[in-house]
């Protein structure tokens, strides 16, 4: 009966879908005790872009991909959080949110409905360096997508009622975010790592939200939304290059005038002389969220790829040393990892994890000991090969969807990477030697000067953390980022 049912299923298949499966062969069973041979990797050629620059300075990248009847658009410019004065923290994010809240031609609801009609949504996001507006939809609606994107980028009106609602909701959202340990850890970490540097400020405050106004938004928009302010338009999908070029000129060339791009001051971040441990008190926390980090590398650093490979060995994948130790050996954490966060002018490198409260200091001790072994000890040939293969494989997997392709090309353009960056990425990874990887780790990542931020129940973890580094003093913050004490409380507790 089984055989019969199976053949009926075959008959029910549309004929065009059959790919020559033959009647039941019974091949000999494989020997499970032997790992099978693996052939060579099939070559992979990353997609290429057609590049152009409009007379007003806007750069255009087009990647054609006809596999799916979709198209993804990204427009980014140098208007990220680091372009904002500390008092106005969150202003770039507010502009990003409210670009889609109204234009001369459409209300917020009409903008959302227009995006529905091409099968997508239009959203904007402010990162540390750049503000990016993204949309995607069915490729036969390319023209309306361009029109809507141009309206929100060039002609937002920031309606008073929408600004007011954004301010009101912003206060509540801030409250909601402060309930999240990851948010508390990130905000405090950036403040402490970057000091007076613009990368220090990554979240608004009650005071900065109160300063949000239609005039401030409009002024930031006027100042930064210039085609020659490092602006890039990326279009990926089932499109013709000539059509995209025409639409780009029509919507972003003729109507968009260039101007004087703003410069933001970039004071050097603090140079710590010791490792400092900070606690953000979250009473009743079921876990401690640990962020340990140092300044990191930018993408154009000569040993960026060497650090990438070294980082992979330490904490870049499931097979890494940190996961093997803290998760698979000790059961302290569900997840742990390390990564370089490469910003435009100065990166950050960090280890992050969440561990149960009772093992907080043991976990930090183990992370530090792994860091020492990583910097001082060898990377084995197997580890090196694994790390490089994993990075090469991940690279291919990060170019599967149109949205991923758009993001990769946007990154190469915004960070001014060489035109052959994607084509040579795998070669650059494969060229790294074990010595270079270790050297990069030892040169750039110094745990003795790291910033450590732990979000957790202070009363339960402070003693263990002080004992880890005898003589050290912990600084305690509340969820608003205000300093609320020291531990030991005397502040000079040498023991």
């Amino acid at each position: 009966m089984k055989h019969l049912r199976r053949s009926i299923l075959h008959l029910l298949l549309p004929l065009g879908l059959l790919t020559g499966t033959t009647a039941a062969q019974q091949p000999v069973a494989a020997d499970l005790s032997r790992q099978p041979e693996v052939g060579p990797v099939r070559p992979y050629v990353p997609p290429v872009s057609v590049q152009d620059q409009l007379p007003n300075g806007l750069r255009l990248l087009v990647v054609t991909d006809h596999r799916f009847p979709l198209v993804s658009l990204r427009l980014a410019l140098h208007a990220g959080n680091a372009m904002v004065a500390p008092d106005d923290a969150g202003l770039a994010g507010a502009v990003a949110s409210l670009l889609t809240a109204g234009t001369a031609a459409r209300t917020a609801l009409q903008i959302a409905q227009e995006a529905d009609r091409y099968g997508g949504a239009i959203t904007a996001n402010a990162g540390p360096d750049y503000l990016t507006v993204s949309t995607s939809g069915l490729s036969n609606r390319l023209s309306p997508m361009f029109q809507l994107l141009a309206q929100v980028v060039l002609r937002p009106t920031f309606p008073e009622e929408e600004v007011q609602l954004h301010r009101q909701n912003g206060l509540q959202e801030l409250l909601a975010e402060r309930a999240q340990p990851g948010f508390l850890a990130g905000v405090q970490f950036n403040k402490l790592l970057y000091g007076n540097n613009p990368y220090a400020v990554t979240a608004p405050t009650e005071a900065s939200i109160a300063r949000e106004s239609r005039a401030a938004l409009q002024q930031f928009h006027d100042r930064t939304f210039l085609p020659n302010n490092d602006a890039v338009l990326v279009v990926v999908g089932d499109v013709r290059v000539s059509e995209v070029k025409d639409l780009a000129q029509r919507y972003f060339g003729d109507p968009w005038k260039f101007g004087q791009p703003p410069q933001a001051p970039f004071p050097a971040p603090p140079m710590p002389t010791t490792r400092r441990v900070f606690i953000v008190d979250r009473p009743g926390s079921a876990q401690s969220t640990i962020l340990l980090g140092t300044p990191g590398l930018t993408r154009d650093a000569p040993d960026y790829f060497a650090l990438l490979v070294a980082n992979e060995v330490l904490g870049g994948s499931f097979n890494s040393r940190l996961v093997a130790d803290l998760r698979e050996q000790r059961g302290y954490a569900y997840g742990i990892g390390s990564a370089d966060r490469p910003q435009l002018k100065l990166g950050a490198w960090l280890v992050s994890t969440e561990v149960r409260t009772a093992v907080t200091s043991e976990a930090l001790k183990e992370i530090l000991s792994q860091l020492d072994r990583w910097r001082d000890g060898p990377i084995t040939a197997t580890e090196l090969e694994q790390a490089k293969n994993y990075l090469a494989g991940s690279f291919v997997r990060q170019l599967e969807t149109q949205a991923q392709v758009a993001d990769q090309f946007l990154t190469t353009a915004l960070y001014h990477l060489p035109p052959d960056y994607l084509q040579t990425y795998v070669q650059r990874i494969q060229a790294v030697t074990a010595a270079e990887a270790r050297e990069a780790a030892a040169r750039h990542i110094d745990p003795a000067h790291a910033v450590v931020v732990i979000v957790g129940d202070a009363r339960q973890i402070e003693m263990g953390l002080v004992n880890l580094q005898p003589g050290s003093i912990l600084t305690l913050f509340n969820d608003k980022g205000e300093q609320v004490g020291m531990f030991p409380p005397s502040g000079v507790g040498k023991r």
Binding site: K2, G16, T19, E37, A179, P181, S317, Y334, E354, T382
Partner: protein, 466 residues
């Protein structure tokens, strides 16, 4: 067969007049069943030299028994902890070492495993998967280790996370009556701690047998050679113990239920509203899916407009058929149609309401009543259809997307071909279908309302009836 150039399905959108719309690219596939009952689906696509091998087992939290909540998920972790010929560490070491990635997820009623890797590594993936299904080898140390890891996962997602206890525990516990459906997939610490090696063996024997699995391999492969490869490795695996049938039937829900919880970590209140949903093989399944999209999806949605913009009472809304555990792609009855609203502190109740939460609930029911009474205007339904179609195509882009879609179609529709035909059924839903389904399912009598208040007025997770 290559996926490019694309074949397009053409359907007629009934309510939009006689206009024809191309729906989505077809996913080519072949299927066969091995003598041991393992269902196999192959789909060839050489766009990138990548392949996904996935294994779906027809078992999830609902098959657990009292005293062992969380076990299906714990078992999923153990599947990566070593088999007879690939001891602990080897699985990730090889998959990642050849440039791939792997993961798994445990759901109410299925468990999904996958590896995505450069296509030359397929024999290795096949060997690793076959060895763990044939000869899983769990030691006491590895069991203890993964209990600790899963407990950290529970702390991370549930105990330490605002709204975690609401989403992962309370919605199921309050909305279902039958323990099989009501208990959380993540389990309890006591039940996780109680798991033993004999439990592991019994679960493995019953549910991780070839006849209870669907193997889908998608990407840069040769179907004929892959069929031989899979047959050689998986064909030799015998079925072991018998599957113990589990009764997941739910009694009818006939009285609106109200529950209030206190959430130690949340700073803003939230409200969840759930209703029992239809069987999947039912016109109302398609209608309620479309209704979920138009109520909750995006800034143009009815409830975003009503709660966030017009009445300014909420910060965000989310929901739909299957929410929060599933969506229309993996919905399986008994399931829920649910909404979740995070609303603001200090918004006063307005005339005709008793509290802010009552206002939120009334606004949700008001939108439902409008749809029941008036149906959905053509232009609104057209927008929802267009978005549904574009999202469907977006979700076909990766080899993993397609493996998951084919395997779920085989599990839930009994036919991987549903991956190519289901979209049309969503696009054919009419205004009258939506109004009828809303009237039948989204009633006061069948509703469960859970209010999640910030603070620790009572210990986390306990409830007081209203």
């Amino acid at each position: 067969m290559r996926l490019t150039p694309l074949a397009l399905v053409v359907v007629s959108a009934l309510a939009a007049g006689a206009q024809t719309v191309p729906a989505a690219p077809l996913i080519p596939y072949t299927q066969f069943t091995l003598p041991n009952g393992l269902r196999v689906i192959l789909s060839e696509d050489h766009a990138v030299p990548v392949v996904t091998e996935s294994l779906l087992f027809d078992v999830g939290g609902r098959q657990e028994h009292a005293g062992r909540s969380g076990f299906a998920h714990l078992f999923e972790h153990l599947m990566f902890e070593g088999s007879e010929h690939a001891p602990k560490g080897v699985f990730d070491h090889l998959v990642e070492g050849y440039g791939g990635t792997d993961n798994a997820s445990t759901h109410e009623d299925y468990t999904f495993y996958f590896e995505t890797a450069p296509s030359n590594a397929l024999p290795l993936l096949t060997w690793l998967d076959a060895d763990r299904v044939a000869h899983l080898d769990v030691t006491p140390t590895n069991l203890k280790n993964q209990i600790a890891v899963v407990e950290e996962e529970k702390r991370l997602r549930v105990d330490n996370e605002p709204y975690g206890p609401l989403e992962y525990v309370a919605i199921g516990e309050q909305s279902f009556s039958n323990w099989q459906n009501a208990h959380p997939v993540i389990g309890t610490f006591a039940d996780l701690d109680a798991a033993t090696l004999p439990d592991v063996q019994a679960f493995f024997n019953a549910y991780y047998a070839p006849r209870n699995a669907i193997l889908a391999v998608v990407g840069d492969l040769d179907p004929a050679r892959t069929r031989v490869l899979l047959t050689r490795y998986f064909g030799q695996i015998p079925n072991r113990g018998a599957i113990v049938p589990v009764d997941t039937r739910e009694p009818p829900h006939t009285i609106e239920k109200h529950v209030t919880l206190h959430d130690a970590h949340a700073h803003l209140p939230a409200l969840a509203l759930t209703w029992p949903g239809p069987p999947r093989d039912n016109p109302d399944f398609y209608a309620l899916t479309m209704l979920g999209e138009l109520l909750f999806d995006g800034e143009s949605s009815r409830l975003y407009q009503a709660l966030v913009k017009t009445n300014k009472v909420a910060l965000n809304v989310d929901g739909g058929l299957g929410f929060p555990d599933a969506d229309y792609t993996d919905y399986r009855a008994p399931g829920l149609f649910s909404g979740l609203v995070m609303y603001k502190n200090g918004v006063p109740a307005v005339e005709g309401t008793t509290s802010t939460e009552d206002l939120v609930e009334q606004l949700i029911f008001r939108e439902i009543h409008v749809i029941v009474a008036n149906g959905v205007p053509d232009d609104e339904l057209d927008r929802v259809r267009t978005r549904m179609r574009a999202n469907w195509i977006r979700n076909e882009q990766t080899t993993l997307d397609r493996a998951q879609l084919l395997a779920l179609s085989a599990l839930l529709n009994g036919d991987p071909g549903a991956a190519n035909t289901e979209l049309n059924k969503f696009l054919q839903v009419t205004s009258a279908d939506i109004a009828r389904a809303a009237a039948r399912y989204l009633t006061h009598a069948q509703a469960t309302v859970i209010v999640d208040l910030p603070g620790t007025a009572m210990p986390t997770g306990t409830q007081e009836p209203q």
